[in-house]
Each structure stands twice: as structure tokens, then as C-alpha cells.
């Protein structure tokens, strides 16, 4: 069953001088229980795609268009407000990058989890509180009752991220979006949080969309990878294939430039140039100015995203 079905999504932000196209024709399907990593650098459109899927961008100024945008069979693009609030949290929940700013500072953690539970289920306050404590225990928080009564500023980033995950899971969503959930955390905490997300995903049978810039996070957590660059999907493949045999020149370059692959102080393989400026993107394929194998065709026309096998697809003229 397809849970998330995006076809030809574009998201644009009108600016002072012209329109910034943050997402340019992205298609993405995620089935129930699947775990997908969306990898990209800043400005690749990976976060905007997820925010658009839940209609969390402010419209206006942003403008969303798509041939299809469905979550759990509900047309998110045309859904009314009431419909959207039913989808959010219940069909799809989201964990954000910076846990320190993700909680309302004037309410206790418990209040914020309880209100989430009660927004979707007809439970009494005390029943919801019991459930909230159970959720906190589930994300391996030692003293759930103490944490319920704490305010966000009293907790560490790692603890808050756990609480955020508990809150996201409170209405048993079918799909969890995790938008750079560990970027703001230390390495050791990152490992714990990734482990926790993976474990919960397996236990609850949720689909997972892990948005990250870090190939290591992808290698740790997901089954399938979507590589984005300049607002487009460059390549998608099962995670092992991406690491063993990347096909798209961008994915290849990215793999080659990862630091720490071989021991010893040494120069790395670098990708020349800078990532495209969303306000003024290059013509044709967004990667062509930095691509080693690009030719005039690549500069003139953007390659279509096409299937290369049952499980793999890419957007590159060289792979046609």
C-alpha cells in the first residue's frame, strides 16, 4: 500500500527579484513500513518536500503545485483545514531538527504531549497523562513522571529529542518524517537517537522518511535512498546499491569525497564549485557545472528521471 504518493511536486517562493523554485518536479512514493532516506545538501529541497507533504509551509508566500500529493490516500493538496489536522499527527507525524526550539517554552512537556494525544483521541486528561508517561518510557526516558512536569528549558537536547519522538508517536502515525533529527546533537547522542528511531520503526511497523545531509545517517538507518540536488531527485536506489555502486555522477562524487574512508592524513577527492543558488539555478541539469562528464546537452536540457531497473532510477543523460 502506498502511504505517501507525490507526483511532480513543485514548491516556489516568490522573492523580490523573481521566483525561487525550491522543489522542481519531485516524485516520490513510500509504501507502508518502508524506510526511505532523503539525502541532500542545504538548498536541495529535501526539507521543503517534506514540509510540503504535510502542508506545513506558509501559503502564501510559498506556492505548492503537484499532479498528485496524497498521504494515506487523502488528497493533501485539496484538503480543507479540518481534514489536514486529522492527517497531521495521525497519518503522518514529524520530528524536527532542533529540539531546543521545537517545544512551546511556556508549557510543560507533559502538557504538550497530553494535548497532542487529546487532539486525536477522546481521552480524559488523566488517561492521556498515563499514556504520555508510557510513551516517555517507551523512548527510554528513565523518570517519565519527572520529565512530564519539566519545562523545555530544563532539559538537554538529547532528552528533548526523545520527548519529541514520544510526542510524534502519540497518535500511532503510519509514517514518520524525521527532518535532520540528529544534526543539532552530539555524536554519541546521535547514535542513540538513530538507534531509537530505527527500533521504534520496526516495532510499530511505521514507514520512515529520514531527511539528512549525512550519508552516515543514511547508511545506519534506511532501506532505500533518494538523492536530491538543486530541487530535483538525482537518483534513487536501495541503500546498499547506493553505497556499493552509485550511478549518478553526483552520487558518485559525493561518495568519493566522504572524509574518513581510508586511514591516514590525506587530501580528499573534492567536488569543485558550489551548490546551486536556488534564486539563480543553472540551466539544464542542476549538477552540470560541477559534473566531470557533463556536455552541452546537460547544460541545455534537464534529464528526465527514468527507471534503470526494478529498484533503481536516476536523472542523467549519461545513464540513458
Amino acid at each position: 500500500m502506498t502511504l505517501l504518493d507525490i507526483e511532480n511536486l513543485t514548491v516556489s517562493f516568490p522573492q523580490h527579484d523573481g521566483v525561487v523554485q525550491a522543489v522542481r518536479g519531485v516524485s516520490l512514493r513510500v509504501a507502508a513500513g518502508e524506510s526511505v532516506g532523503i539525502v541532500g545538501e542545504s538548498g536541495s529541497g529535501k526539507s521543503v518536500t517534506c514540509m510540503a507533504a504535510l502542508r506545513l509551509l506558509r501559503e502564501p508566500p510559498s506556492r505548492i503545485a503537484a499532479d498528485r500529493l496524497e498521504l494515506g490516500g487523502i488528497d493533501v493538496l485539496r484538503a480543507g483545514r479540518a481534514h489536514l489536522t486529522a492527517v497531521r499527527g495521525r497519518v503522518a507525524a514529524m520530528v524536527f531538527q532542533d529540539p531546543m526550539t521545537a517545544f512551546d517554552p511556556v508549557f510543560s512537556i507533559g502538557h504538550q504531549i497530553v494535548e497532542t494525544i487529546r487532539a486525536h483521541r477522546d481521552l480524559s486528561k488523566s488517561a492521556a497523562t498515563v499514556e504520555a508517561a508510557a510513551l516517555l518510557a517507551r523512548v527510554e526516558i528513565k523518570h517519565p513522571d519527572a520529565i512530564l512536569n519539566s519545562y523545555p528549558h530544563q532539559l538537554s537536547g538529547g532528552m528533548l529529542q526523545r520527548a519529541m519522538i514520544a510526542m510524534a508517536l502519540s497518535s500511532r502515525p503510519q509514517i514518520l518524517f524525521a527532518d535532520e533529527p540528529t544534526t543539532a546533537l552530539d555524536v554519541t547522542i546521535q547514535a542513540q537517537i538513530l538507534h531509537l528511531i530505527k527500533q521504534l520503526q520496526a516495532e510499530l511497523g511505521m514507514a520512515l522518511i529520514m531527511v539528512t545531509h549525512d550519508l552516515g545517517v543514511v547508511a545506519e538507518t534506511v532501506d532505500r535512498v533518494v538523492v536530491m540536488y538543486g530541487g530535483r531527485v538525482m537518483e534513487t536506489a536501495p541503500v546498499q546499491d547506493i553505497f556499493d555502486a552509485p550511478l549518478h555522477p553526483y552520487t558518485q562524487a559525493l561518495m568519493a569525497s566522504m572524509p574518513g574512508r581510508t586511514p591516514g592524513k590525506q587530501r580528499l577527492v573534492e567536488i569543485a564549485g558550489a551548490s546551486p543558488n536556488p534564486a539563480n539555478p543553472p540551466t539544464g541539469c542542476p549538477f552540470h557545472p560541477r559534473c566531470a562528464v557533463a556536455d552541452a546537452h546537460c547544460a541545455a536540457e534537464a534529464p528526465a528521471f527514468r527507471a534503470l531497473s526494478d529498484t533503481r532510477a536516476a536523472a542523467c543523460w549519461r545513464l540513458a
Partner: protein, 307 residues
């Protein structure tokens, strides 16, 4: 040969004041606790640890940007800990700093040429025209052509801004560079460029770099030696290879264990230690009780352990 930079028993205590003027309570917080480090000439020393471990404070004390509460800082063998503003100025030329956030590191109101020439300006070296010329040469050296001279920081990408910051740091030909997480705010595809630039310039200009980072993968590709900080103390120090293959301290090991795998094939179960568990697992060299100390356990390998 005297080392480029030596830190001897550096400590920093912060007084944390809570809001409320007159009657504010203040508590002491020991951010850096008795840290000694030696940065040999022409080497890159990695200083790693999690946020709050005191690594940045240590780097800032080495630069005399934060005043140490105790200890000494030696640059090329000279003690600069107590030097006043004027006496310190000649030594300022020998040590420079590059920060993590390249956006906030460049004055938005100044052109790139002005930014890179600023060190010459502050030290009164050369005429205005000479300063600009040198600045443009330095920009070229870091990979930005002459046309960038009259641009403003907001027109650049993150990687380009970091190049400018490096150009400014190196224009005085310092012997010591403190680099505080210079690659962690950069895009993945640009990170390698900046690491290579640092490696090239280090070899070309004979620099010694104190490289502060939480990214162990970068540290592995860039450094000769690594010191690991935990709760304000150095718990282990050794050559990069030794740290990555033969770490002895439980904290170092938990750090290394937490690095994400480089290939999905290597996924593994991990055990996570709490701070208390790490403290409790402090290595014991002879099975006796006592206070942990930083001990030499092999040539160039220091370890915090109970003797």
C-alpha cells in the same frame, strides 16, 4: 625545536550568574580543568569532544580570546599568558583563528578585499594599495580570483566565505592556526574542498594547526595527533592512527563507536554508556584505588587512568 604552541595546566572557571541584578546567585562552573597540550611545528593536532567538553574554550584561551583562570600559554617558547594588550600584539601576528560560522565571521559591511586586508591594517603593515594587493593575492591563494575583491560576504556561498576567513587568518603568515569546527557548517560537497585547502596551505606555509572538531571522520583525514576532551579534561591523547585503532579510554571508545558506519553493510548493535558508566570505567593500570591522572602509557600516548 620548540613547539609552535604549548598549553600548560590551563583551567577556566566560569561564574554562572542567574538573572536578577543585585542578589543574583552565582555558581562556579569548571569549563576547562588542568589541560596541557603541545602543538608541534608543522603538525595538525585534533581536539575532539562533545559540546560542553571545553574544547572551544581551550582553543579560545590559546588565542587569549578568553582569559584562563590558571595555567600558561607558550607561543614558540614564550609565555604570553600575562602579556598586556600592547606586549601581546606582536604575538597576535603569529597565531590566528578560523571559526565555524563563516557568515558571522565576516563583517557584512566590508568588501572581501577590506576583510582580508584588515590584519595588515591593524598591524600597520604597508600602504593602503599594498595591503589591497596582498589581500587580492591571498584571495587567489585560497581559490578566489581577483574579481572577488570588491564583493560583499552576502554574495558568496558558505564554502567561499570560509575561504575568505582562511585568507584573512593566513595573510600575516602566522605559525599557529586555531581552527574551530571550520567545516561543520559546510555542505557535504564543499567540505572536502576546505579540508584540502587547509592541508595544502599547512604544507606550503609551514603551519601548525589546532583543529577543534566533533566530526571524527574529518579528524581522521586531516590530523597527525588527536586529543580527546571529556568534561573539561583531556582523557586521552595519541597519534591519529593510535586513537582510531587502539583507543584505551572508555570515552574515546564510545565516541569512536558512535561514528555512523560508512557502509550499510557494517551496521551493528551498539551499547551506550552514560557519563557515570564512563567515569566508573576509568582504566586502572594496577588494580588499585586512587584518583585518575593523565599518564604516559606509551611514547606519545597519554591516557587518563588510575595508576
Amino acid at each position: 625545536m620548540t613547539p609552535a604552541l604549548e598549553l600548560k595546566n590551563l583551567s577556566k572557571t566560569y561564574q554562572l550568574r542567574q538573572s536578577g541584578g543585585f542578589f543574583a546567585r552565582s555558581t562556579d562552573h569548571l569549563a576547562v580543568n588542568n589541560v596541557s597540550l603541545t602543538l608541534p611545528r608543522n603538525q595538525i593536532l585534533g581536539l575532539v569532544g562533545e559540546s560542553g567538553s571545553g574544547k572551544t574554550t581551550t582553543g579560545m584561551m590559546a588565542m587569549r580570546l578568553v582569559e584562563p583562570s590558571a595555567g600558561q600559554i607558550l607561543v614558540g617558547g614564550t609565555d604570553i599568558t600575562a602579556l598586556g594588550h600592547a606586549a601581546l600584539k606582536p604575538y597576535r601576528r603569529k597565531m590566528q583563528v578560523v571559526f565555524q560560522d563563516s557568515y558571522s565571521a565576516l563583517d557584512p559591511m566590508m568588501t572581501l578585499a577590506q576583510i582580508v586586508a584588515e590584519p595588515l591594517h591593524i598591524h600597520g603593515l604597508g600602504t593602503g594599495a599594498e595591503q589591497t594587493e596582498q589581500a587580492l593575492d591571498m584571495l587567489v591563494k585560497t581559490g578566489l580570483d581577483h574579481s572577488y575583491g570588491n564583493r560583499y560576504p552576502h554574495e558568496l556561498s558558505g564554502g567561499q566565505r570560509q575561504r575568505v576567513a582562511i585568507a584573512r587568518a593566513l595573510i600575516l603568515h602566522p605559525t599557529v592556526l586555531v581552527a574551530d569546527e571550520p567545516t561543520s557548517a559546510l555542505d557535504v560537497s564543499v567540505k572536502a574542498q576546505i579540508i584540502n585547502l587547509l592541508l595544502d596551505l599547512q604544507a606550503e606555509m609551514g603551519l601548525s594547526i589546532l583543529f577543534i572538531s566533533h566530526d571524527l571522520s574529518v579528524v581522521r583525514s586531516l590530523t597527525d595527533k588527536v586529543a580527546v576532551m571529556f568534561q573539561g579534561r583531556i582523557v586521552e591523547e595519541a597519534t591519529t592512527e593510535t586513537i582510531f585503532t587502539d583507543a584505551r579510554h572508555p570515552y574515546t571508545r564510545s565516541l569512536l563507536d558512535a561514528i555512523p558506519v560508512l557502509n550499510p553493510r557494517d551496521r551493528r548493535a551498539r551499547t551506550f554508556l552514560t557519563r557515570a558508566q564512563i567515569e566508573a570505567a576509568t582504566p586502572r593500570l594496577s588494580g588499585q584505588d586512587g584518583r585518575p591522572e593523565l599518564l604516559d602509557i606509551a611514547p606519545g600516548h597519554r591516557l587518563e587512568a588510575i595508576r
